[in-house]
């Protein structure tokens, strides 16, 4: 319902994440975490103090604990797959068991 009202607006409201740390996943498997500095309608994102999670060399789709520091980064919106704030994010035990 609300998504039909304003066609030009993205349903992702990045305004509320400005200045906060977010996790961004890309198509191709890269995962990056940084402080949101800016964004646009195409979901191009600028992150500051960015760290990339290194992936498992055997399986490029899983991520290890290792990180590498990237600094100020511009993420292209077309390859952004998932965006979530890190403060709401925590690893847990299997909840389905």
């Amino acid at each position: 319902m609300t998504s039909l009202s304003n066609k030009k607006e993205s349903i992702l409201d990045l305004q509320k994440f400005l200045g906060k740390e977010i996790l961004v996943k890309f198509t191709g498997g890269r995962e990056v975490q940084g402080i949101l500095k800016g964004y646009d309608q195409l979901v191009n994102i600028t992150l500051d103090r960015t760290e990339e999670f290194i992936r498992d060399p055997q399986d490029p789709l899983t991520v290890t604990e290792q990180k590498r520091y990237l600094g100020l980064v511009v993420c292209r919106g077309s390859s952004v797959m998932m965006v979530c704030p890190t403060e709401g994010c925590q690893q847990i035990e299997n909840p389905y068991v």
Partner: protein
């Protein structure tokens, strides 16, 4: 039933999304759009090999990375109610039995007077008296002065702008 309407009806319900990379996200659908981009909240994210789990408060997932979405069975009944309110589209048929006065389709600028082109010969020079040259009123192109203007006095424009 359109898949996107089913998805829209699922707003506010718990859904399960599997992405192309194998991860699954179980959460409440907050919002979705025409590209299947979705906003979820209170999400449990499971890794591809089902060995790691995360609790994520809110997340945005791009539509083109979704493999499939599993919705609760009740949602499909809700959509069926919505669709019954739509009137079926019946294209207008132009024939004598139609109630409208003029049966011929108007079209865009056809009508009686050439609306689009302008009544007084603007473009091409339809008036017989004032031809395209460079006389008193140059409207259209006319016969003689083609593009460049042949008369010596009123030169070159010849396009019908009018040197007046």
């Amino acid at each position: 039933m359109l898949p996107l309407s089913l998805l829209r009806t699922g707003q506010g319900h718990q859904i399960m999304v599997e992405l192309k990379n194998g991860e699954t996200y179980n959460g409440v659908l907050v919002n979705c759009d025409n590209w299947m981009n979705i906003n979820l909240k209170n999400v449990v994210r499971t890794s591809k090999d089902s060995d790691k789990f995360w609790k994520v408060e809110t997340c945005y997932i791009r539509g083109n990375t979704i493999k499939y979405i599993s919705v609760p069975d009740e949602i499909i009944d809700l959509v069926v109610e919505e669709e019954q309110t739509f009137k079926p589209y019946i294209p207008k048929t132009y024939d004598n039995s139609s109630s409208s006065k003029d049966s011929s389709p108007r079209g865009r600028g056809r009508g009686d007077s050439s609306r689009g082109r302008g009544d007084s010969s603007r473009g091409r020079g339809e008036s017989t008296e004032y031809r395209g040259r460079g006389g008193t009123r140059t409207r259209g192109r006319g016969d003689s002065s083609r593009g460049r203007g042949e008369s010596s006095e009123y030169r070159g424009r010849g396009r019908g702008r009018g040197t007046q």
